[in-house]
């Protein structure tokens, strides 16, 4: 099997080509050490199978962000070398696209130059002589329009005829004699490899131990300014490209007038922001209204499945484990799929169309005031769905400090997992009624979202002052011309992102549901194990206190979970909570949405006739065991809302922050500080309102 990699500038149609070649035969993994998604796919042409790796779009082989670092890591891979490179370029901007190609070509790995988007050439008034370019670079050139399915057959033909070895030699000249020493190493193929090794420390770890030591020694004896040399390299390359293009490309007009007109509107002083908020408003409306229908289906499906398993399997512990822990646990993950899929869908649309970079453009100044970056807007908005993909989206922020701050403040945003908690607490707090034509519950919910956004902004300002990390990376972004989004690409991102959410976050949620069930179903000592006799002898039963309910309550109180909840009761009493809420809070540190399920179990584990009663009714009737008054008063509920707004209750987020910052320091600080704020905030809220 031949290993191919796909490389190109951003916005050249790379994703479309990857999807066109591999279809659904793709998978997403991770690069060791750094957590950039590794997209891999397979396809075959005339019995020959190819493995294709899709690399992040980049403008040069010098990485400016974590995302781009992967490109070098993959193509200089010594252990599993690349057999050939498919380089995709945008026909309407060959000059810039050929820069990276000229670097790739100097690697002396067989490559194909794809000139894509030829359907746009006529309108742009460009004519390209492919044969001259092919003769100049000694690499096959293929003209394509991936979205119009043109030229793919020629590409297939070229791929089957690929040579095993490069049939030209690079004439790259090292600008510093000192680097020549590097050429003596076995793994360094030519001058350009030596050049990359000299300028990119991140490549050193790709070599064998002994070679790494030698590289270090050689480079220590050379005195050079990397940035200056790299700029010289760029100038040289562009002057060669300019000479080539003079004879091969004829261009009559340069302006994309439609894009200009759209830009005038979308980056306008007032309309620009108005449209942006309009788009956001539409997305959130869609997420909540469109998603609610499938969510109800999923909810009732899993509810019925659990009842069905309970009644049709023999009544034993395995039955209970499946029907009370496993099925509701899986259901609790699947229920988020509609919302998350919709959000990813919208983000993919905004990115594909080119609108996202305009949003970055018009918000950069505003975000910078808080120590963030225009590019932080994508993670922050995604944070409303789930902090995990949002934190991963921060990878394309070049500036290390701004990236770190973005990662640290994203969990303040109101994620989808908080929504079920908020929904139930708000319903407990105020009855659903309208005031002045507004839905009061909706108003409170909006307030919670605003609170999340404002807190993340405030946190950024504070972090900006505290974190002393210096990073010089400039803010340079391309504003690509607008494109009509491809449905196929949309579906591909939607499926792969949703899949990774379900499996990554899902594992933890299901595991926690099972642990919780075990903790609630078993207990130490006589109080738990002789529960039936104790309850029978000590309590009087009537319609409001049936034997089953009393037994269930007694068992839960004396289970391991019950003791755990009681253990933290002294700590949470100042917030107005009892041990039952304590259990919910403990469970929520795995994932916030577990709260609702846990509350449901706490008030109903074991009781079978209660299916008619909703959780809400049960919570309304709940009484505090010390005061005898209803547990969920206005003050308690509000204090809980505040607690959930701030507390860092999500194992998956902690894990992802650890991976993305490559340290335990930041996730620990983040967890302690956020939970501290939550505690103080909830305490103040309870004290003021009770």
């Amino acid at each position: 099997m031949k290993k191919l990699v796909l490389i190109g500038n951003p916005n050249t149609g790379k994703t479309s080509l990857f999807n066109a070649l591999t279809g659904l035969n793709q998978s997403t993994g991770n690069y060791p050490g750094i957590t950039v998604d590794k997209k891999k796919g397979y396809f075959s042409i005339a019995k020959e199978t190819f493995e294709l790796i899709d690399l992040p779009g980049t403008y040069s082989l010098e990485p400016h962000s974590l995302d781009e670092e992967v490109v070098l890591q993959e193509i200089l891979n010594i252990k599993e070398p690349v057999d050939a490179i498919i380089y995709i370029s945008d026909a309407t901007n060959l000059r810039r696209n050929l820069f990276l190609f000229s670097q790739i070509r100097d690697l002396e790995i067989p490559c194909v130059l794809l000139i894509n988007r030829i359907d746009k050439l006529e309108k742009a008034g460009i004519e390209i002589e492919g044969s001259k370019i092919e003769a100049y670079y000694k690499c096959p050139v293929v003209f394509t329009s991936v979205t119009k399915k043109e030229g793919l057959n020629s590409l297939n033909k070229v791929l089957t005829e690929l040579p095993n070895k490069c049939n030209y030699s690079s004439d790259f000249e090292l600008k510093n004699k000192g680097f020549e020493e590097l050429g003596h190493l076995k793994s360094i193929k030519n001058n350009y490899w030596a050049w990359l090794v000299a300028h990119q420390k991140s490549t050193h770890k790709l070599f064998h131990k002994e070679e790494q030591i030698e590289i270090k020694q050689i480079l220590q004896s050379v005195n050079y300014n990397s940035e200056e040399l790299l700029k010289e390299e760029a100038v040289d390359r562009f002057s060669k490209i300019d000479i080539l293009l003079e004879t091969t490309v004829k261009q009559t007009t340069t302006d994309n007038t439609i894009s200009r007109k759209i830009d005038k509107l979308l980056t306008h002083k007032y309309y620009g922001y108005l449209i942006f908020f309009g788009v956001l408003f539409f997305i959130f409306q869609a997420i909540y209204s469109w998603a609610s229908i499938p969510m109800e289906w999923i909810d009732s499906f899993f509810g019925e499945l659990s009842v069905w398993t309970h009644t049709s399997l023999p009544d034993n512990r395995i039955n209970k484990l499946v029907s009370e822990a496993l099925i509701p646990g899986i259901g609790g993950v699947v229920i988020f799929v509609p919302q998350i899929a919709l959000l990813f869908g919208f983000i993919s649309l905004l990115e594909q169309s080119g609108y996202m970079s305009r949003v970055v453009f018009i918000t950069d100044r505003f975000m910078r005031r808080f120590g963030l970056n225009g590019k932080s807007i994508v993670p922050l908005i995604s944070g409303v769905a789930c902090a995990i993909p949002a934190i991963m989206a921060a990878r394309n922020i070049d500036n290390a400090k701004e990236r770190l701050i973005t990662i640290l403040v994203v969990p303040f945003m109101t994620c989808a997992a908080r929504l079920p908690v908020y929904t139930i607490l708000i319903a407990l707090m105020i009855p659903s009624n309208t005031a002045y034509g507004f839905n009061l519950q909706g108003l409170i919910l909006m307030f919670m979202y605003l609170l999340g956004f404002v807190s993340s902004i405030v946190a950024s300002v504070v972090l900006h002052k505290i974190i002393k990390e210096n990073s010089e990376a400039n803010f340079i972004i391309e504003l690509p011309s607008y494109q009509i989004p491809q449905l196929k690409n949309l579906l591909h991102t939607l499926i792969s992102k949703t899949k990774s959410f379900v499996f990554d976050a899902g594992k933890i949620i299901v595991a926690v549901s099972i642990i919780l069930w075990v903790l609630a179903s078993f207990g130490p000592g006589k109080a738990f194990n002789n529960a039936e006799i104790i309850v029978e002898n000590t309590q009087v039963f009537d319609e409001s206190n049936t034997y089953d309910d009393a037994l269930a309550a007694h068992k839960l109180e004396h289970s391991y979970l019950g003791y755990l909840g009681k253990g933290i009761e002294p700590i949470i009493q100042p917030l107005g909570y009892d041990w039952k809420i304590g259990i919910g809070i403990i469970a929520s540190f795995a994932a916030r949405e577990v709260f609702v399920g846990t509350m449901a179990s706490i008030y109903s584990v074991g009781s079978k006739q209660e299916s008619g009663k909703t959780i809400l009714e049960k919570l309304r009737q709940a009484k505090n065991h010390t005061t005898g008054k209803p547990t969920y008063t206005f003050a308690v509920t509000l204090s809980l809302l505040i607690f959930y707004a701030f507390a860092m209750q999500c194992v998956s987020t902690i894990a992802i922050v650890k991976r993305e910052t490559n340290s335990w320091k930041w996730p620990i600080i983040q967890t302690v500080v956020m939970t501290g704020i939550a505690y103080i905030g909830a305490f103040l809220t309870y004290t003021i309102f009770s």
């Binding site: 403008y59 400039n474 504003l479």
Partner: protein
């Protein structure tokens, strides 16, 4: 030169050429996109708050922050 104009001083849709010996002031990423001394540029857009700026060179529209734009000297065409 004292009053050398920079990209930050360009008027909207004004065309200019990046002055000689500016390599040191242009961010590497911009150089690698093809914007070097003697490159013809045009100020395409300005964000509502006056920062960042969007310049056009060749077929590229690229945004950069005002602080970076102020460092890059230009010459009129």
């Amino acid at each position: 030169m004292q009053n050398q104009r920079t990209i930050a001083d360009l008027n909207l849709n004004e065309t200019a050429i990046i002055a000689a010996n500016q390599q040191g002031n242009i961010p590497l990423k911009l150089v690698q996109m093809g914007c070097t001394s003697q490159t013809k540029i045009k100020l395409r857009m300005v964000a509502p708050s006056g920062d960042p700026l969007c310049i056009q060179f060749g077929g590229n529209d690229v945004a950069l922050r005002l602080e970076d734009a102020k460092k890059i000297a230009i010459e009129s065409v």
